[in-house]
Amino acid sequence: MIPQNFEYSAPNNLKEALALLAGGNAKVLAGGMSLIPLMKLRLAAPEHLVDLSRVPDLKSIREDAGTIRIGAMTTHWEVEASPLLRSKCPLLAEAASNIGDVQVRNMGTIGGSIAHADPAADYPAALLALEAQVRISSAKRERTLGIAEFLVEALTTALEPGEIVREIIVPIEASGAGVSYQKMVQPASGFAIVGAAARLRKSGGKVSFVHVGITGLAGKAFRATRVEKLLAGTAGSTAEVQKAAAVAADGVDANTDLHASAAYRRQMAKVYTARALTQALARAS
């Protein structure tokens, strides 16, 4: 189908882009992998699109003081293939490699994905485990939020009218850390039925640090702190991993759809959390 008429702007610098968005009526076109299909179905009919693809400052991956800063318009493929991310923040690169299909990864962007805030998107699981920061800009001000505060609920973020995601800031992984993203994919949409991101370190034969993020299970992705508490301080044996993963869905109001009932999703959350922890432990040294 053909979308309704809309005005299109493609500013070539950030200042101009923010000025165009300041009115609050324009919608950002960041990659269009969710927005364009909605417009073609006429479920969305923005009057004005501001395409950020020509804004040079939004497309970069660079190291800065113990962190890596990723421009919002960096595509999933660029995240997946970045030598810097693959060596220093491999969890994010691994999550990116699981998104959709190759066409989506070539067009879709990290900023667009988190601003859309699909409850089954892959990035949030990894970004929560990484305790990522989101740098936000508007014509008036700039602010930085933790990813957990940024993701308010399904399809809802803390972004206010006129604001855009400018950068995502992730930590450089400590040497010897083990990470893994394990996803049960719904093959038609490419979205996760559930996805689990694990990030951990060992010291003296014990798990000294563990962060787990889970997507697809609930209205929004979340940090599985109950799992973390159970695994921290143990030797990370198979039994200990199973015991910790068994609480992955505790206290969670799980989603139901045609592809997976709430009970099945809860069970799969445990299974995929155990797989992510097991692989992260095997990769840690």
Binding site: S34, D118, D257
Partner: protein
């Protein structure tokens, strides 16, 4: 799609029941409602504008309240349609006293059809829960405002 759950309102059951029967209160609490008018006994006509992410849908519909057993329970019959799809359903709301507060248990069955159901199937359950939660949050907020003593 089955919808069930509960929400605890921090005030007494009589008050909760009364608020849930008041069309003005309902209009204020339903996200995106910009018109609600009485068209018959316990029957209302409404217009809603749902905005979720980039999706915007205008719905026109009717709400009917039946089977009232104040202050314990009532049945809600809802139907609505718009360009992006339609919605039809009914459910029972049961109000249980719990100390000074009220537990509202809801249990219903909703059919959603049209484009929105075709492409949004994956998100219907999540969205329904979100709308219900926002409704009760707003109701709690309204009740809080009304019980504030007048200034001066």
């Amino acid at each position: 799609m089955k919808i069930s759950g509960s929400y605890t309102l921090p005030f007494a059951r009589e008050r909760a029941y009364q608020m849930l029967q008041d069309p003005e209160v309902l209009a204020k609490c339903m996200p995106g409602t910009d018109h609600l008018a009485k068209i018959g006994p316990d029957e209302y006509e409404m217009k809603m504008k749902m905005v979720i992410s980039a999706v915007q849908g205008l719905f026109a519909g009717k709400i009917r309240v039946t089977g009232q057993k104040p202050p314990e329970q009532f049945r809600l019959v809802v139907e609505g349609s718009g360009k992006v799809g339609f919605l039809k359903g009914e459910g029972v709301l049961r109000l249980m006293p719990a100390d000074a507060s009220t537990e509202v248990h809801y249990d219903g069955d909703v059919q959603v059809g049209g484009v929105i159901a075709g492409v949004g199937q994956r998100l219907l359950d999540t969205t329904a829960k979100m709308v219900i939660r926002k409704f009760f949050e707003k109701l709690t907020e309204l009740a809080g405002q009304a019980s504030q003593p007048a200034a001066g």
